[in-house]
Symmetry: C2
Subunit: 300 residues, 2 copies
């Protein structure tokens, strides 16, 4: 079993969807990732919160066996985000983003984090992603996610970080924007040209595509009865994906396909509740059963 170190945001989210709303719940890319991955493997979390950050959230992360030694607590307020989704649930509309202590985040890896074999650079400033990576001593698998904001404002830094990465994760609109092409195949090839050997493109309700130089894999999304809150779905995907790879220790393309399905399973659970709620009650049996269900819906 490999250890994962993740760097990303830890936030307090206020979310409204057509199916309800929540105020100031535990959120952030590193949080969603860690929680999903924790069902498979130990995770080291690197992030920053303010002194207002409720202790119960730290207790929750620890209860999931997430190492929070790298979660810095700094004078000031925790990064907070307020957003809503319309009926199509595909696009988050940001109403308020307060970076707060996140603005001066200067990520440092505690000693016991640096030797993690898997590094996940969740969606943050690509310069900070690189800074974390430079502190990692023996990474065997480096994976990064990003978002439109960095494509628009820090494209050169983003491409620089991509050069050091094995697997790039992004969603379809990000891939198209980054590579200025409608074709996801062309976009994936362009990204691979910058460094990664594998590109995974998340298409929300339409599933996931994974490209390598010579292979292509397409997984559908799980057909859900009820989607309450899509926040964190992409990070939960990454958590399931890397959690499975870490647990299994086999990073081959064939095993990465299974990992994509585990990622899709974790994303599908994530959206069934607000914030991290669904994960609070999720069982291993449910995860395994949904993986089997994926086999059923894709076999022909």
């Amino acid at each position: 079993m490999s250890k994962i170190t993740v760097v990303g945001s830890v936030a307090l989210d206020s979310i409204e969807t057509p199916f309800g709303k929540v105020e100031s719940v535990l959120g952030g890319s590193a949080t969603h990732f860690s929680t999903a991955a924790s069902f498979f493997t130990p995770v080291n979390l690197v992030g920053v919160v303010g002194t207002d950050f409720p202790k119960e959230h730290i207790s929750f992360l620890r209860s999931r066996k997430i190492d929070t030694k790298g979660l810095e607590i700094t004078e000031g307020l925790t990064f907070s985000w307020r957003g809503h989704y319309d009926y199509d649930l595909n696009t988050a509309h940001s109403l308020e983003t307060n970076l707060n202590v996140f603005q001066d985040f200067n990520p440092k890896l505690p000693e016991n984090y640096a030797d993690a074999e898997i590094i996940f650079l969740a969606n943050i400033d690509p310069q900070l992603q690189l800074q974390v990576l430079e502190q990692a001593t023996e990474p065997k698998l480096v994976v990064m996610d990003t978002m439109n904001f960095w494509i628009e404002h820090k494209k050169e830094h983003l491409i620089r970080t991509l050069q050091e990465v094995d697997i790039a994760l992004m969603n379809d609109s990000e891939a198209r924007e980054l590579c200025k092409t409608h074709s996801l195949l062309d976009a994936a090839r362009m990204v691979m040209g910058w460094g990664p050997t594998t590109v995974i493109i998340k298409k929300g309700e339409h599933g996931v595509l994974m490209f390598t130089e010579t292979t292509h894999f397409a997984a559908p999304a799980f057909p859900l009865e009820e989607i309450k809150d899509p926040t964190g779905a992409g990070d939960s995907f990454a958590g399931g994906f890397l959690g499975f790879l870490a647990k299994n220790g086999d990073f081959s393309e064939q095993n990465q396909r299974k990992a994509v399905v585990y990622g899709s399973v974790m994303a599908s659970f994530s959206v069934e509740g607000f914030g991290l709620n669904r994960f609070r009650e999720l069982t291993q049996k449910e995860i395994d059963s949904r993986y089997c269900h994926f086999e059923e819906i894709t076999g022909f």
Copy 2:
């Protein structure tokens, strides 16, 4: 091997996409369907054209072993359509639609068509679809397609026709519009409530979903290098789907899954050329090879 009778439009299409344009080429729902299905099984075509319809088009259909006894030639002009697609290639923008002889179409099944085991009601007025179905003497499998226009203007007739149908085909936006829900799962259930035991929802570049009361199947679209013209992709899907079922004679859910993949294969070829061009040179070997490729890209 079962025989298929199809009723639908036969048209002259003028199409512009970012990748080129063509003037007055052979088109129409019944034409695209028949041509795709003809790679698997004999097809009886029911439709109407005007006296302007080029004889070479009829020769082409016959060269594909499509029975054109049911293709009525009426005084007047053939149904013609002019449209263009933007870069996203998902939406056809109609510039001109001249129904011409299609306006008074009164479909009649020639004697040797009526006993076909498979009836495909391609996208035409649902009242005409029903009229054709009433002339079929021993249908074992009835499949229909439709489009937004009939959902908006003839919804009651559409639902009446659905009552007589085994498999309903529609695209995702049509399913959502017909059932007034964002959830494709809910939409499929509602459509099944009207009669069909199976609902197939086409999602273009995102693949296909097939629902029965107790099962769900998701197939991705083929990752194409180059899409020239999406016109007729849905009808080509239906042609591959029903062609395979007709050739194979097994209408079980398990076999319908393979048929969905053959449908996706034919749709993927269809869009690689303008009009029917890609089918003019397509080989059985290419079809089989792409089916195998689908197995490769979906296995995990």
